[in-house]
Subunit: 510 residues, 2 copies
């Protein structure tokens, strides 16, 4: 193997992956070709890194070293190191095989996952994997191996108790704050629920964004463990811990490409659940126009895949297909949703949210043997009515460093508000998930916690012209204006007369 | 569209693509999600750029700006600019369509190619395109559009004469210095041959590397034009000019992924040829074990595709399938190959090189109407024998700033040399392209111009134990040792007795 000696030039740079900069001329001397990795050996050790080739950023004879590498090898400015080509990581060959449409062995999947987590793969290689998974798919064997390796290459919560319960919603419905109601219900019945969730990426509020209005959500694994041991549950942001970290890297590339391979969705969800030790899992699949899953057959197929996967992973899993054709509850946006969730726990919530949260909690109570089959929902509603779920939520909020005495109406929302009136009389024919989401985001959600909207009417209701349809809240005047302008140009709530269509009796062709 | 105001922090960074650095908190405020582009507006104008999100590299409120963007907008340190999300380039949607296996319109292909050349696509997106082309393929309509847009988005040679001849070898065979013989033959017959070629990437010497031993190969378009007008030909490095630049970007990603989509190969070759204005093209497809194309059917299919494409692009094209199962000539490595090419032009070359160079030149002479059909090879050999081709090569070398009087034996080769003897007596059964290539690269080729090897025997010849099989040349002792060690561990030249296998007459099962 050819090698050259280069002088270290420590760069004030932190890269996502370990990467060094090498001058074009030195790269040629090394026999470097695009995608090659280099091995950097100093007196104190050696490390393998991706290399970026540059014409001018570093001179011939220099090795531009980002901070991770400088620190890992304890390099000093001007120190001489030996640089040679390193073999490509094994995962590269396995990705190529998947591109060719071949089935991968568990070991090959392991190579890929380890290389993803160690930062050994280039953006191009990870992208090739995502495209190949999308086009070629994966067998159940491959998905099982993917889950196992994704869990193994990360940290684990390890609570030391069992059973452990968890719930995950596939998402795509605005106002989906159900977890802030379902988790306290389930925990108040004595089940252990260490729930991690994500922040909104394309939606107006993720569960973590809503919970953050009420308490902290960023914890170390140790802190999370302590909270769950104390109050039986946590509502934490998954991004603060290294649970199945391959997932986060893959999801980033999926978003860039606008692809969401079904097989990777299955592996992602299950790996996150297994990493917290969950062995009793409920999957919520919101289904309807504008949701992530639009058609019932599609929802059923996904549910079947989840169940099959759970058998292979030896965990209990149920899947619930819920109505996702319009927002859950009335509020959309972190603070407005936090208000609505607290109101619901305090006995004054909207029907659709109570219905969804208690149905899901009911399935979990039955799964946990706390309620008899068929009586779960009733038991869940009882926890809600009795105030036990609210009491549990107070404990969770307090354990997470929030104020348990917070009143819903005291939660601050944006002080700029506009009411959108009905442009005509008629019946509410449709509430569009997509446009509702866009308006809430334009108003500032999720980063402006107080921004969002409240829908005042739901599908099927009769309204009179001029009657308020929704309120938009914002923290900044210009964002309110942007949100109003979307609401005017593309009304998210469609009103129609009862007569939807008139068919002419006249024959079209004489 | 949301926008935020950031202070410019000019970074001493040159990126491959235009890219700005934004703090995580600001990205969240913008509603940024991975793959989004941002629009940066200053008092002097606006520009769209990819964004890299960072936790610490720039602080909240700062915009880290690479030199390209700082210069393009004339930004000064600390200046306030307005940053907002920009729509994704059109090419992204077209790539997604190809991933889904749909056929693209010429306009969609145009979107992709323009976005590649302007640097608007992320590495992930370009990778998705390459994988999609590999898995889904492209129709002839798509390839035609790809070629046209690749040519349009780059510079052109525009010699102002016609016809223009060109030749391209698909490659993969060590020692393939044929172009240094074929081009002077063809040019000496009065045809115009502006040949651009690549440097070696995975091989021991590209045409440009070999020619560089004799003369300069890096020219501006204007210089190339002047050389061709003066002597009728050029042997230049394609990397110094912007001919079909999308090709170079795509090839980089193909190498990272180890993929070589057939449709993109066709588009790449034709776009480079059309960019120099060639309308009479010869494609050489070396075929045999260890070559890029291994089987005859595959070679024929590729030839047919090239011919079909040429009809669509309205240029004349012939394809030649040549034997590529073992090295062409005896020399491998820049200086050794330059010696062999000059010896051949001076009337003292190896049979396989004379045969290949004159056959290909003959086809071009027939294409150009300089020789009657069936008499091209004879005419080519006559140009060689008469010294006219050598005289033309001297003119080319001089026009390219080299020494036309150079003697082959004066061309410096590595002064470290080792002879590899035959380990046994027998017949040469196989000369392995792949291992020959590896040995020459280990010896230092192509960056050490004098490094490489000379094969002394070819397939079918009888050798005695101890008889020299090859000579390895290197400029550095340690590289010579590495090359020798490969040659010992994995002999590139296989010797066998005439009796290849003995089948026992005894029945296996009684």
């Amino acid at each position: 193997m050819r090698s050259i000696r280069l002088r270290v030039r420590a760069l004030d740079l932190e890269a996502e992956r370990t990467v060094v900069l090498i001058n074009e001329a030195d790269a040629e001397a090394l026999g470097y070709s695009p995608g090659d990795r280099v091995r950097i050996a100093s007196s104190s050790g050696a490390i393998v890194s991706m290399a970026s080739i540059t014409k001018r950023l570093v001179s011939r004879g220099e090795l531009g070293s980002c901070r991770e590498i400088t620190d890992a090898l304890g390099l000093s400015q001007g120190e001489e190191v030996e640089v040679s080509l390193a073999p490509r990581p094994k995962g590269v060959e396995a990705i190529r095989k998947k591109v060719e449409g071949k089935q991968l062995s568990p070991d090959e999947i392991g190579d890929i996952v380890r290389d993803i987590v160690s930062g050994s793969l280039s953006p191009e290689e990870i992208s090739a994997l995502v495209v190949a998974e999308h086009v070629r798919g994966m067998t159940m064997d491959e998905i099982v191996a993917m889950v196992r390796h994704m869990v193994e290459t990360g940290d684990r919560l390890e609570l030391g108790v069992e059973p452990i319960f968890d719930i995950h919603s596939i998402g795509g419905v605005p106002g989906n704050k159900y977890a802030l109601v379902t988790v306290p219900i389930v925990a108040s019945a004595g089940l252990v629920v260490p729930k991690t969730s994500s922040r909104a990426i394309t939606s107006a509020a993720g569960t973590a964004d809503v919970m953050e209005v009420l308490a902290n959500v960023s914890f170390s694994l140790e802190e999370m463990r302590a909270i769950v041991r104390k109050v039986g549950a946590v509502l934490a942001w998954g991004g603060s811990v290294r649970l199945a970290p391959a997932d986060d890297i893959l999801i980033r590339v999926e978003r860039i490409l606008g692809l969401d391979p079904r097989c990777q969705l299955l592996a992602s969800v299950m790996s996150k659940k297994l990493a917290v030790g969950a062995d009793h899992i409920l999957i919520d699949i919101p289904t309807g126009p504008g949701a992530k899953v639009e058609r019932m057959e599609e929802a059923r197929a996904l549910a079947r895949d989840f169940i099959q996967l759970s058998h292979r992973l030896d965990v209990r899993l149920e899947a619930a297909i819920t109505y996702g054709g319009q927002p859950v509850g009335y509020a959309v946006g972190p603070a407005l949703e936090a208000r609505e969730a607290m109101e619901t726990l305090m006995g004054n919530g909207p029907g659709s949210l109570i219905e969804k949260a208690s149905s899901l909690a009911g399935i979990m109570l039955e799964l946990g043997g706390v309620a008899r089959l068929g009586y779960g929902r009733e038991a869940a509603l009882e926890m809600l009515r009795s105030g036990k779920a609210y009491q549990k939520m107070r404990e969770i909020i307090e354990a997470q460093g929030g104020n348990p005495d917070v009143k819903p109406e005291e939660i601050p929302v944006g002080d700029k508000m506009e009411v959108i009136p009905a442009p005509s009389s008629g019946y509410i024919a449709q509430v569009s998930n997509r446009i509702i989401n866009e308006i809430a985001r334009a108003a500032g959600a999720p980063s402006d916690k107080g921004a969002g909207l409240r829908i005042l009417v739901k599908e099927g209701r009769k309204v009179e012209k001029g009657e308020p349809l929704m309120e938009i809240y914002a923290e900044h005047e210009n964002k309110l204006d942007q949100a109003i302008s979307i609401a005017r140009q593309r009304p998210p709530i469609r009103i129609e007369g009862m007569l939807l269509e008139k068919l002419s009796g006249e024959p079209r062709f004489r």
